[in-house]
Symmetry: C2
Subunit: 240 residues, 2 copies
DNA sequence: CAGTGGTCTAGACCACTGA
DNA sequence: CAGTGGTCTAGACCACTGA
């Protein structure tokens, strides 16, 4: 793998920072210094340092110079694994089992349904994600038919609603809430667990521009499922 | 707020993509087109489009051109709130209560302790995070004294171990596992909850370069705490 | 007020790859 | 094989801000 010049400069500086040779708060060489050191133009140096700024490893101050940033763990990158892929990776069979399906207007009592529907009908589904026939997660989902009219025709025998949406709808924004709850009787029954079993509860809303697309609640059996988040320079691609 | 030229081009393209005027898979104007359209040099266009590539909104293919990327929800940005700040925001008093403190060698039976210690002693702590005097989370932490020798002198009456580490140690990498568990008897007792109460379980390992810094397990009372993750163009700064 | 980074130009040569 | 993006140069003017 041949490295470009700005990558070389970038990784050299990165290595110096991660090894501690350049400690947090210390000043990097100026762009002029690096131009001379690498025998290149200023644009090339600038590109290298800009990448480090984008990665929050460096902060720049005019007149003063560029400095090693102190890492701030304000956020981490949360992997959102594809459920089917993850089950297959465990060498188990994956299946989605549709439990109920309904097309109806938004409940005026429920604020989130009003927001999602945009005045049109909702497709309301419940179902189970199965691994080797055993329940892994119970899912309750509402889909805006205003945003996704095609979804009314789907059967979801071969593909889960989530996977279908992923494939067919270009969303732009999503928000996920993660919590731990004791399984309520209905949830416990669907998951074939005792009432009160700890479940990882994931609630996600998805938008396309201003319009809501879908709103989903999932209960995962706590002992069978967890989430992983990372922080660090070994990040896996543009996490937006 | 005056926009620079490359920011103008970037936001123009971004708006076209998010509004749907440029749908997923469609081709953007070539760099030559944009040079003419904005009357600028190619470097400026390139910088604008490169930013969109970094944000995963655009993919480039040589000879073919630049295309609107289909969003892939492989990862989201998980907010890691500062516990003390969050408690204060609820208008409650925050406190950390140290339950135990021990300096000892790594247990040869426990792989993670071996990895963390680097052969040196560990500082092993347990404690409670309190909101208005009520337990919010039970924490078990091991700290590598090889990486953080100063920590042995701390009392943690005024500041929690996590906050102290955040302030004094420049780590570079972290990994967090998030799960739901039923409270074991010891955890339930510390949290003043019934045995079996659903807890959000967070386990985090932190490194500085190759050396482990700390390893922490936290049990949060499920009904009192949750986590939020985001995906979308309205991202909050360089999430690495 | 001088040194720093921020931005931009008008070129250049190149590698890749789809038509 | 021609059009695309990838990279780089050698300059330029500017805004900001710490000494």
């Amino acid at each position: 793998m041949k490295k470009t010049l700005h990558e070389t400069i970038r990784t050299d500086m990165e290595a110096a920072i991660l090894s501690g040779a350049l400690a947090a708060g210390e000043r990097l060489p100026t762009e002029a210094d690096l131009m001379e050191q690498y025998g290149c133009s200023r644009m090339t140096v600038n590109k290298a340092i800009s990448a480090l700024v984008a990665a929050s490893l460096v902060e720049r101050r005019k007149k003063a110079g560029s400095f090693v940033a102190r890492p701030k763990m304000h956020s981490m990158v949360l992997d959102i694994p594809d459920l089917e892929a993850e089950v297959l990776q465990r060498r188990q069979r994956y299946a989605f089992h549709l439990l109920s399906r309904e097309i109806r207007l938004a409940d005026p009592q429920k604020e989130y349904e009003q927001q999602l529907s945009g005045g049109e009908a909702l497709l309301v589904l419940t179902g189970l994600h199965l691994a080797d026939g055993q329940p892994l997660a119970f899912e309750e989902r509402s889909v805006s038919l205003a945003a996704v009219p095609d979804m009314a025709q789907q059967g979801f025998e071969l593909i889960s609603p989530g996977a279908w949406l992923l494939k067919h709808v270009p969303w732009t924004e999503a928000e996920t809430r993660i919590a731990a709850v004791n399984a309520a009787p209905e949830v416990a029954r669907h998951l074939d667990q005792d009432v009160g079993t700890a479940c990882l509860y994931i609630e996600r809303r998805t938008w396309r521009g201003e319009a809501g697309v879908t709103w989903v609640r999932q209960h995962f059996i706590g002992k069978d499922y967890d989430l992983i988040a990372h922080f660090g320079p070994a990040r896996s691609g543009g996490a937006i």
